[in-house]
């Protein structure tokens, strides 16, 4: 009996693992692939579901105003990308390849915008450069006036640069952190100038990250809704068009066509990113030596200026938004009060709703992501199944938030749909958030799991320990820091995102980020700024708490690992 049990147990292991992978793959199918196909169908059919080919697109391209928006979107995105990637490269270079001090400070400042909803930058810009802005009026007459045409492309680009800069910086700093110093030594021996080395060694060495960063910034701007909504003025872009078509005119078919247009650069970016990820990993070898930073006063001086300037702008923007939210009646009564925050902490209010959504997203999302990443990475389940599951897990990377929200409306707001029931509840928002931020979490989790020795699984299998016990007793504790990181990622993004859920939120469960858009819509700039401030504060508090816990755990696992080595 006993031997018989022993013999089937590994099978039971595999069977249960396969079952979970299959069910999760089906879940992903329903959450991503089917809604996406709905979009494609909607884009080529009329309101009664008859196939009409590319009529909507023909319609689109024969409406001058709409073509103009497409062109506007491309222009704004291109300019933003150029500025953001250049600044991001400079900043990353300063932190990775120069000897300036206070790198930790600059790094945390550079990442600050990630904690704020993208509308915040626009709101702060109104307080600075609007017709009654601090800088426009020269601090209310103290200095000469300085006016720019904020509402329009200038405002959008400024807000988008702030929004995309941290992404560019993050991607490029990872690339710049790893370099093979032997290349630089060789170049120097050959007598190349610093400038030449930069162009022939540094840039090619980071070229894949550079491509990715360029595309990511372009797509982020191309599909962002927050900034053009706040400071776009009469300058129409694709993302606001989509909102107007779908929400304003309830024209779902045309909305689908615009959605497909938004998808194109995102898909290109996705493919390029996948290729560059694969190529990048082959860059370093075991013989590589790490980059050595030489002394250079001039270089460091210049980078101090750059980093301090960028940091000052970022901190300034956030402080101005906070200041604006506290001023009683801008610009006529500058006394400070919390009047604009009134009622925001109510149990039923948008802020509490957002906290609930963010916690639920983070909790459910982290568990699901971990389980799936684990099974794909560590299990011995069916290979084909694992590969298709992996592919599906990457797919959300190619879906901009606006498109994701749109396809969820199409898919779930259909009374004949068995899953129709979750439409209009908090669950569809949570599901949408999980899917929206799933790929990055999945990748983080996978790379975290890769670092663990697969001997654990092999050993436990040979001892007939069920896989879930190994998972709970060994793998989970060892990967806790990664798990917390993923939790944080889900939480923060759920707090700040607006693009997807603007189509989905239920009437009585309005998230804070959507409330910001509504407040701004009806002209309550200060209240919108107040809500943005609350979001930043909440995000920073949660981050601090999670990092603190993570630090404690890290120390414990470190000692554990050392002990096992002895």
């Amino acid at each position: 009996m006993d031997t018989w049990l022993k013999r089937i147990r590994p099978d039971a292991n595999q069977w249960s693992q396969n079952a979970i992978i299959v069910s999760m793959t089906i879940a992903l199918l329903f959450a991503i692939l089917l809604p996406l196909s709905e979009l494609m169908i909607k884009a080529v059919t009329d309101q009664n579901g008859n196939f009409i080919g590319l009529m909507h697109f023909a319609n689109y391209f024969s409406t001058p105003a709409l073509v103009m928006s497409l062109w506007n979107s491309i222009q704004v995105s291109a300019v933003t990308t150029m500025i953001a990637v250049t600044l991001g490269f400079g900043f990353a270079y300063a932190l990775e390849r120069s000897a300036i001090r206070g790198k930790w400070f600059y790094r945390s400042v550079a990442l600050l915008p990630l904690f704020a909803p993208s509308m915040l930058h626009g709101l702060a810009l109104i307080y600075l450069f609007g017709n009654q802005g601090l800088i426009s009026t020269g601090f209310f007459g103290l200095l000469p006036e300085f006016r720019i045409e904020l509402y329009g492309p200038i405002g959008i680009v400024m807000a988008e640069v702030l929004y995309t800069f941290p992404q560019a910086f993050l991607m490029l700093s990872v690339a710049l952190a790893s370099a093979d110093y032997r290349m630089y030594e060789a170049a120097e021996t050959l007598g190349a100038s610093k400038w030449r080395i930069f162009w022939t060694v540094t840039v090619p060495g980071t070229r894949f990250a550079l491509f990715s960063a360029i595309f990511v910034c372009f797509v982020l701007t191309f599909t962002d809704f927050g900034a053009p909504k706040v400071v776009g003025g009469q300058y129409n872009v694709l993302a606001t068009d989509l909102y107007k078509q779908v929400i304003g005119q309830q024209n779902m078919q045309m909305g689908a066509a615009v959605g497909v247009l938004l998808l194109i650069p995102a898909v290109i970016s996705f493919v390029i990113d996948r290729i560059s990820q694969r190529k990048q990993s082959g860059w370093l070898s075991a013989k590589s030596t790490p980059y050595r930073i030489e002394r250079n006063k001039l270089r460091d001086g210049l980078f101090y200026v750059l980093c301090s300037a960028v940091s000052a702008v970022i901190i300034g923007i956030i402080l101005v938004a906070i200041y604006g939210s506290l001023v009683k009646v801008w610009p006529y009564n500058l006394s400070l009060s919390f009047a604009h925050y009134e009622g925001f902490l109510d149990g039923q209010g948008p802020f509490m709703t957002s906290l609930l959504i963010a916690f639920a997203t983070a909790l459910i999302g982290t568990v699901a992501t971990f389980l799936f990443a684990y099974l794909i990475e560590k299990s011995r389940g069916n290979r084909l199944l694992r590969q298709s599951a992996y592919f599906l897990s990457m797919l959300p990377l190619a879906l901009p938030g606006l498109v994701l929200g749109l396809i969820y409306v199409f898919f779930f707001n259909n009374p004949n749909q068995p899953l129709h029931g979750i439409y209009g509840t908090i669950w569809i928002v949570i599901l949408c958030n999980i899917v929206h931020f799933y790929s990055v979490s999945f990748l983080t989790m996978t790379s975290g799991l890769k670092k663990l020795d697969s001997e654990f699984e092999a050993a436990s299998e040979s001892m007939n320990v069920p896989w879930y016990r190994t998972l709970l007793r060994v793998t989970v504790p060892l990967s806790l820091p990664t798990i917390l990181e993923v939790f944080l990622y889900y939480f923060i993004n759920s707090m700040v995102t607006v693009s997807a859920i603007i189509f989905l939120y239920a009437p009585d469960l309005k998230p804070a980020a959507v409330a910001i858009v509504n407040k701004e819509d009806s002209g309550d700039i200060a209240q919108a700024a107040a809500m943005s401030t609350l979001i930043i504060v909440a995000n920073l508090l949660v981050r601090t708490a999670v990092m603190w816990i993570s630090g404690k755990i890290q120390r414990r696992t470190d000692t554990l690992l050392v002990r096992t080595k002895e």
Binding site: N131, Q132, N236, I247, Y332, M352, L355, S522
Partner: protein, 364 residues
């Protein structure tokens, strides 16, 4: 998740407390409402859930609903709010699968459009006889019943006008003067009811051709077309756009908050529309929806509407004209045909969009 448990626990405690002292509580509310009330508006134990679509301003909804919640504590009211144009588009889009049970406080011109499409169900709410005849549908029982009227107002920032040495515009004709170039914010008529009522008033006031000629000139002076009808008033209040074409209440609200604005009702007469309510035609019409419509024209909410709007659909004895309004607000209104306005709506909006909506380039 922890929060939710706390809330749930708290709700449980509160409910059981309320249940414990249910009897005296009912009595108390009943006596207080019988003082004010027409019909006996005791706390009802009707329960259920209704979806109410509305274009009433966010900050007004909460105060309005207080008396409904007191009377019907067990009816859950889900409010879906957006600007008039969006609510209209949403309701029309959901025509075959209506989500709303009640439409509350939407522009009468929009309700007329929906009536045209057979989307409304006749219902005579309790006390409908008290509603003045021009404030409800001519059919009996009526398809829609009005609550109040709101009207065009020009909100002008005095401080900014002084700074620029400009007089305060008093009329539509003043607004197209070249000195106001780039200073005016106006709501987009396709999304905002206030925007449409003003554009419609110009049409009925001047006639089609002159109205478009006027708006061509006005367009030259516009800084931005906003999504909501109250935003121009708020932009005027902060001086972001010193002149806002908006509606009376929104400007007066800003005044009360201490902004240096003047609320001007244009000399030629204000455009206007009516906030009205209706029952949505659908398979299962909930009795709670009818209760809501009964309540919507009862005394308690009427008193609240009166705090924001000078003209009500039910004659108020000794009702006060809100501060900031002229003595007789009715005389401020132009003569309008709402039925004509509803018929013209689609055509005017399409032409407007074509003429001014495609101004995609930023102004130089």
């Amino acid at each position: 998740m922890k929060i939710k448990w706390n809330v749930m626990a708290a709700t449980l405690v509160v409910t059981s407390l309320l249940a414990g002292c249910g009897a005296p509580k009912t009595e108390g509310t009943a006596s207080s409402s019988s003082q004010t009330g027409s019909e006996a508006a005791a706390v009802s134990n009707a329960s259920g859930e209704i979806n109410v679509y509305t274009a009433i301003e966010d900050e007004q909804i909460k105060t309005y609903l207080t008396s409904f919640k007191e009377q019907y504590p067990d009816i859950k009211v889900n409010i879906v709010r957006d600007s008039t144009g969006i609510m209209t588009a949403k309701l029309i889009a959901e025509k075959d699968n209506p989500q709303a049970d009640v439409i509350w406080g939407l522009a009468a011109t929009s309700l007329l459009v929906m009536d045209d499409r057979k989307m409304l169900e006749s219902y005579a709410p309790k006390g409908v006889d008290r509603v003045l005849p021009e404030f409800k549908d001519k059919a009996n029982p009526p398809k829609w019943v009005g609550m109040d009227i709101w009207e065009t107002a020009i909100i002008v920032n005095k401080a900014e006008m002084e700074k620029r040495n400009l007089p305060i515009p008093q009329s539509y004709e003043d607004l197209v003067k070249p000195e106001y170039k780039g200073l005016i914010a106006m709501p987009h008529p396709a999304s905002s009811g206030t925007g449409y009522l003003t554009v419609n008033a110009l049409h009925q006031l001047y006639g089609k051709d002159k109205a478009w000629a006027y708006m061509d000139k006005l367009h030259e002076n516009i800084m931005v077309y906003t999504h909501s009808g109250s935003k121009p008033a708020k932009m005027a209040s902060s001086g972001e756009a010193p002149i806002g074409i908006s509606y009376g209440y929104s400007g007066i609200h800003e005044q009360k908050k201490g902004a240096p604005v003047e609320v001007v009702f244009p000399k030629e007469g204000s455009g206007w529309d009516m906030e009205a309510s209706a029952l949505v035609k659908k398979k299962d019409i909930k009795p709670e929806a009818k209760l809501f419509l009964d309540w919507a024209i009862s005394d308690e909410p009427m008193k609240e509407y009166n705090k924001n709007y000078a003209i009500l659909s039910i004659k108020q004895e000794g009702s006060q004209i809100p501060e900031g309004y002229k003595q007789d607000p009715v005389s401020q209104l132009t003569k309008l045909d709402l039925y004509q306005a509803a018929r013209d709506r689609e055509g005017i909006l399409a032409e407007w969009e074509q003429k001014y909506g495609s101004k995609a380039e930023p102004k130089k």
